[in-house]
């Protein structure tokens, strides 16, 4: 009779930890992509803002 090796059996705890790690990894990846997109858009908006022509709201000459 061959008994299953202890390391190869997925207990409920291992399953939960693996699941948690996978979801955490996914969230981290997606979050990083979101953040980088946001930063990129902000940089582009800043560059765009510099293209606005100068307009003086000071008193008339």
């Amino acid at each position: 009779m061959v008994e299953p090796l202890e390391g190869r059996v997925k207990t409920k705890g291992t399953f939960l930890i693996e699941g948690f790690l996978v979801i955490w990894l996914l969230v981290a990846v997606i979050g990083t992509v979101h953040l980088s997109l946001l930063c990129k858009t902000q940089r582009e908006l800043k560059v765009l803002q510099e293209k606005r022509l100068h307009y003086s709201r000071e008193s008339p000459p």
Binding site: V22, T41, L45, L48, K51
Partner: protein, 195 residues
């Protein structure tokens, strides 16, 4: 577990796509706003410059025209000399030609200002319509009561106010008003107002 991951993937991807769309929309709105603003700023400042140029030319014409009256009266007097007549004809010709040239240059600059404003908008991938701005410069030539020369310049619009708007209009209309005003020092200057 694999099923959960597989199910959640489309949700994550969809959220990314939605965010990307939102960022693009924000960028585009900002770009359109800057396009309309730049067109308004460019037009207002160029037109104020043109009005100042007109005022300066008008003053010069008035001075020259008044100075010419002495020669004109001499030429029209009973004791008119040949020299007076010759000078009068020459001066009147010079004044008329200069007035024609000024009118042409005003027309060219007027159109150039409009094109410059529209190109500012095109640079930001938008198009603008300009309302209330006359097709021709708002100046006209009157006739002098003394010498009948058509060199008495006057402005036909009291309070120049143009409206620059995105064309065609979208859900959120982008409109800006450019107002030209005369400062106490007698110089024209431009002001922008949200439409």
């Amino acid at each position: 577990m694999q099923v959960l991951v597989l199910l959640s993937l489309p949700v994550f991807v969809a959220s990314l796509a939605a965010s990307l769309d939102l960022y693009k929309e924000v960028y585009r709105l900002e770009e359109r706003t800057i396009g309309v603003d730049n067109a308004g700023i460019s037009l207002a400042s160029a037109d104020a410059h043109l009005f100042n140029h007109f005022e300066k030319s008008k003053r010069t014409f008035d001075r020259l025209e008044t100075a010419h009256h002495i020669v004109h009266l001499c030429a029209r007097s009973a004791v008119a000399t040949a020299a007076c007549l010759k000078q009068d004809v020459a001066l009147e010709k010079a004044l008329t030609v200069s007035a024609n040239l000024l009118w042409k240059s005003l027309q060219i600059k007027w159109t150039k200002n409009l094109i410059a404003a529209q190109s500012e908008a095109i640079k930001r991938r938008t198009t603008v319509c300009i309302k209330h701005r006359p097709r021709l410069p708002p100046f006209e030539r009157g006739v002098c009561e003394t010498c009948s020369l058509p060199v008495k310049w006057k402005q036909t619009v009291r309070r120049p106010l143009w409206e620059v708007s995105e064309c065609p209009q979208r859900n959120a209309p982008l409109v800006i008003q450019t107002l030209l005003e005369k400062s106490p020092s007698g110089k024209w200057w431009s002001r922008l107002r949200e439409g």
